[in-house]
């Protein structure tokens, strides 16, 4: 039995099938009942006898959000320290697919696509089941263009040709801009270069262990471990950093923290794979709660519907699934040979639908469809070589190889082809690409799809200045958060390509806000 199969059985056995209405299998437990200790209960932290180091701003995490904050704070004249616990910088941002949602980009312009911040906001709120904090979501939708311009003009990020602009699930229009190399590294490495140019450094293998909150309510410093060796909790040397303006938490999500994620979503057992880097764990988020930060929607954990059980991590299959299958092909249940969901529904709807069938879905495309595959050059070839995507001369062979009833598969393809002619998907109302061609040209391609844990929407509460909000509803002085560690922007579901822009918008806001803070001494 393959690993993927274990995962499939475990997931469906653990009650996905039984969830009434199929809604929100992963989510659903309100954070309100979690009973995190408040600052009042925990009491103020003891101050160290001696501070080993001093800075104005301490940034925790070296991904999109952390580096954006670091650059802004540094440019505003603050002294900045950036901590990264792993031996390499970049977190999830450096393994990210590099796709960024932008309203009004030059790419949209070149393609003649009409869009507006309100339309993006509406898409985010719809997918988010209106659980998004509207004022936070609005910041992202309204400042996406500004963040994009900052990437291009200020730090020198390169994006692809406008013809590769993507129309991703849950978005009303094509607005997702891939970086030139289809990786977030194009952004994060340019951020790092900028930060270095400003005289900053990122200290890797340095772990934030504890925040220090003074009796007066202000976060005044941190206990860190230098020379830390992930994942050894006690490794490295303890040091105390005095932080005069504030700490910016930019420690990312917790998709790889099996123990913590199971406290929020017990069905996300260890066998459920994740697309994230191994260091995507929850200790910083828990520390934010311990000092009194308010938890927001922590149990809303996203699984990616475009993941393949036949490769590790995020892999390359998502590129194939997104273009060739979801935009220019179809996805069927191998048992029935039929489509079962709009291939462009938001991630949660698709992931839940696949899981509800109890086994991997089959994505189908053809020689025309495969041309829309994103990813680095040669992605389709690599996927075929690695056996993740399989290639067939006929649809019949494709069906046979996946134990699917050929007649039903053929009917599904014929139906879809007929919808292209009339312009409406009669079964699921999926948006049909104007330039889509019927699925009929050999070779035919198939990919198995089974969801993996991908994004944690919830986190600590922030306001529009990226200040962390306490259980008492007031900002915690000297504490900021941005990126995946903060909750509320996405509500129930994060739309594809909105994380990059969320991290950049709020990272920059956090950096600017913290630099303005009055230093204590």
């Amino acid at each position: 039995m393959k690993k993927g199969d274990v995962t499939e059985k475990t997931l469906s056995r653990r009650g996905f099938l039984k969830t009434a209405g199929g809604a929100a299998a992963v989510a659903g437990f309100a954070a309100g009942g979690l009973g995190f200790p408040s600052q009042a209960q925990a009491g103020p932290d003891a101050l160290p006898k001696k501070w080993d180091e001093t800075c104005d701003v301490l940034v925790v995490g070296s991904g999109f959000a952390g580096l954006a904050a670091a650059i802004e704070a540094k440019e505003a004249g603050a002294s900045v320290m950036v901590l990264e616990k792993m031996p390499t910088h970049g977190g999830n941002s450096i393994i990210n697919g590099g796709v960024m949602a932008v309203v009004g980009s030059d790419m949209q312009e070149a393609r003649g696509i009409k869009d507006s911040p309100d339309l993006m906001l509406a898409d985010m709120m719809k997918a988010g089941l209106d659980m998004n904090y509207p004022e936070l979501a609005k910041m992202v939708a309204y400042q996406s263009k500004d963040a994009y311009d900052w990437c291009k003009q200020h730090i020198g990020v390169k994006f692809t040709d406008p013809k590769m602009l993507l129309h991703m699930g849950g978005h009303t229009v094509a607005r997702s801009c891939p970086t030139s190399i289809y990786s977030g590294s194009e952004i994060v490495n340019k951020e790092l270069a900028k930060f270095k140019e400003l005289g900053g450094t990122v200290t890797t293998r340095t772990y934030l262990e504890k925040l220090i909150r003074h009796a007066n309510g202000r976060v005044v410093g941190a206990q860190i471990r230098t020379g830390y060796r992930f994942p050894d909790a006690g490794s490295g040397k303890v040091k105390f950093v005095k932080v005069k303006k504030g700490v910016v938490l930019a420690s990312g999500g917790f998709s790889q923290d099996v123990a913590f994620r199971m406290t929020q979503a017990p069905n996300l057992v260890a066998e459920v794979n994740s697309t994230n880097q191994p260091g995507a764990t929850a200790e910083v988020l828990k520390e934010a709660f311990r000092v009194g930060g308010n938890p927001v929607q922590v149990s809303w954990i996203q699984l990616g519907p475009w993941a393949s059980p036949d490769e590790k991590g995020f892999g390359l299959a998502p590129h194939f699934a997104t273009g060739p299958v979801f935009s220019y092909g179809i996805m069927v249940d191998p048992k029935t040979g039929k489509r079962f969901i709009s291939e462009l529904a938001d991630r949660k709807i698709r992931a839940d639908a696949i899981i509800r069938t109890g086994h991997a879905a089959i994505g189908i495309s053809d020689d025309e469809g495969q041309k829309s595959c994103g990813g680095p050059p040669g992605t389709v070839g690599k996927l075929v070589e690695r056996g993740v995507v399989k290639k067939f001369d006929t649809l019949e062979e494709l069906s046979k190889a996946h134990d699917m009833p050929y007649a039903a598969v053929k009917e599904s393809v014929d139906n879809y082809n007929s919808y292209l002619k009339t312009g409406t998907d009669k079964e699921f109302g999926r948006y049909l690409q104007p330039d889509a061609k019927p699925i009929e040209k050999a070779p035919f391609y198939a990919v198995r799809l089974w969801p993996k844990v991908h994004h944690t929407m919830g986190g600590v509460q922030i306001n529009t200045s990226a200040q962390v909000i306490g259980l008492d509803g007031k900002p915690i002085e000297g504490l900021y958060a941005a990126g995946e560690v903060a909750g509320g922007v996405h509500g129930a579901v994060r739309l594809g390509s909105v994380a990059v822009v969320d991290c950049l918008v709020f990272g920059r806001i956090a950096g600017k806000s913290v630099a303005k803070m009055k230093a204590w001494s």
């Binding site: 991590g313 690599k382 070589e385």
Partner: protein
């Protein structure tokens, strides 16, 4: 009765602790000593408790890396990944000091030291461009600048850092 049982238990516990101490103390599992002045081929200088090689292995005392390679070729009995990289260095004439300097408290070696002898990373990446399933010395994430030490450990088994997220089955020397 109860008291007696406790006593026996206590005695048994003390005995097993003592046994454990003896076993640990005997060096059965002790790590080899690091004798900085030892020649690369002089296994016994550090591996005092257990011979590092089987008895049938020819005497290595006066051998260097070239001599090893007379028998251990790429095709036959390949040494890649078999011998800790520090041993390869030592056999090749690169002493402990060459990397760590003259000191009693050796520190971790920064990547610049590697590059100083092995040459620029871009050149290395060019050399390994045809390695399957993909070039290990460049990636979309870090370009050619991933720290050598993340894969090529000197004093423990080397690892494949990419394997955290990818299924590339590299054999890491």
């Amino acid at each position: 009765m109860e008291h007696r049982r406790k006593k026996i238990l206590k005695a048994a516990f003390t005995l097993s602790c003592a046994f454990l101490l003896i076993v640990l103390g005997s060096g059965l599992w002790a790590a080899p000593k690091l004798i900085q002045s030892a020649k690369g081929g002089n296994c016994a200088a550090c591996h005092t408790d257990q011979p590092a090689l089987s008895q049938s292995h020819p005497d290595t005392k006066d051998m260097n890396l070239e001599a090893c390679r007379a028998c251990h070729t790429r095709e036959n009995m390949d040494l890649t990944g078999k011998l800790p990289a520090s041993h390869m260095h030592l056999l090749g004439g690169v002493s402990c000091e060459a990397c760590h300097g003259k000191t009693n408290k050796p520190e971790e070696t920064p990547m610049e030291k590697c590059v100083a002898c092995h040459g620029p990373t871009a050149k290395l990446a060019e050399k390994t461009k045809d390695v399957k399933p993909t070039n290990p010395h460049t990636s979309p994430h870090y370009g050619t600048e991933l720290d050598c030490n993340l894969c090529h450990h000197q004093h423990k088994k080397s690892e494949n850092y990419c394997a955290q997220c990818h299924s590339f089955d590299f054999k890491t020397p």
